[in-house]
Amino acid sequence: MKHGLFRAAALAIGIGAAFPALAQDKILNVSYDIGREVYEALNPLFIAEWKEETGKDLTIDQSHAGSSKQARAILEGLPADVVTFNQEIDVDMLAKGGMLPEDWRAQLPNNASPYYSLPSFLVRKGNPKNIRDWSDLAREDVQPVFPNPKTSGNGRYTYLAAYAYGLDQNGGDAAKAQELVKAIFANVPVFDTGGRASTQTFAEREIGDVLITFEAETGAIAKQYADKGFERVTPSLSLFSAFPAAVVTANADKNGTAEVSNAYLEWLYTPEAQEVIAQNFYRVNDPDVTAKHAAEFPEVKLVTVDEVFGGWDAISAEHFAEGGILDQVFVNQ
């Protein structure tokens, strides 16, 4: 009896391995660290839709980690069919490595960013330190918490947003902007290596007065720690943070998953998907969904990396390179 079962199982596995295409479609979505919840909500909907449209069963495997780390893993052989990242430079890395076309931004609407977010604030109950904007983070009595910009894309956005605010407030004076960012960095009590670790530090260890992370995260954290009464504060100005999506064509062509991979990413722009994404506190472009959730997303002046910094290449060279502006404000505290 036992043997019979084993044999049947072995046979089933053998068949499955020999004819994977017949058994079902399967794609691997390699994604950023904090995207677990949104894709957990999205994937079952697309799987149902795909079944209805094509009659095929689809499995979507998810892999979540820091998106730079993920890009590195794909370059080293992780067989991702699609990537959904939170940093455009990491998709560019894949393009440079020949994993997908250089013009990946043109493959999907809105520069291949189905949704977006921005660095925003989460403060303690009642906002006791009255933190409203980036300038408050430089006050001596305020301890901001955000991840290390050297290891976290999330931290890099925070750095750039604060810098952009500094430029905006001082008529483009780079020295003044650096002064502001330096003062903010000097107030940080703990630099965790990733966004979720910073959340732990702020929410569980109760360190710091304000957590700076993507607006989508502030929403999710406020919901998760509802008993602690954290409050979301949107600064007056912030940085448009694209969440780019792309088909890893080199892998998808090899795996025969190009069609389903494209359909999956295009589906992210449908009202159905956009609604789910908005419920996960990301800002979307669909006008109806945006109008419905208007109350949750306060007005904010959004600037882009291209406008303020002249693109990611310029940022890498000027800010993030060894000995660049980030190192100067970071280390010389």
């Binding site: 940080v188 703990v190 630099f191 290596t193 260890r205 360190i207 060894e322 280390v331």
Partner: protein, 277 residues
Amino acid sequence: MPALVQKTPMPGLRLSAGITLTMLSIVVLLPIGALLLKGASFGPGNVWEVVNRERVWTALLLSFRLSVFAALFNLVFGVLLAWVLVRYDFPGRRLVDAAVDLPFALPTAVAGIALTTLYAPNGAFGQLAAQIGWKIAYTQWGILLALIFVGLPFVTRTVQPVIEEIDREVEEASATLGASRPHTLRHVILPMLTPAALTGFALALARAVGEYGSVIFIAGNIPLKTEIAPLLIVIQLEEFNYDAAAAIGIAMLLISFAMLLAINIIQIVSRRKMGHV
């Protein structure tokens, strides 16, 4: 069956030696070789330029200094623990004995988060420490604590079998010859334990130097204050600077190698001394 008779007393020596060397090459020598190759292609001058920065020196110094402290603590405490576990019988001894291995089994991230939870200013022990103005988590104390934790089993586990082998008669003989207990400890017991304890010390040290997962949660990671060298490597990787990451890796490798070599030499010397006793 005469064909199956082995010519040497060691059965399958060639085969097992071959397998061992192949495994050793794949698991240990190849990665280290790749690291050195990466450094060689980067150029010694460039490697030196990466390492010779204030931030890198500070991190290297911090990592190795705290690792030595942690290993020294584990040396003393580990021998003590091994002694207690072997020589005394008390309720729960087996439980404690089993618990010694926990730092091996626990994922380091779990250990790091657990320690941070306990020693953060709002944690159970962190609150007590805060009352006397002692900050543990997010300071160098926190790093030391994590390094002690991950290195604890090494000394205990290497010394334990040696203590089990020591005959009571040796101590009794020492006592009947008129030696005081401290004298017996100093001149009879400790020399026998030294080689094993040093091995444990070296292992604990090596483990602490390379530790990343648990430290990263409790360190605070403030540049020049609580930033460990392995974090700098991760930072370089995060920015796709493979060469700079390899450079710091090579620096750590060389320093570790020098330290382990020194410990081995001490060990050889102490073994020789033992031989003359």
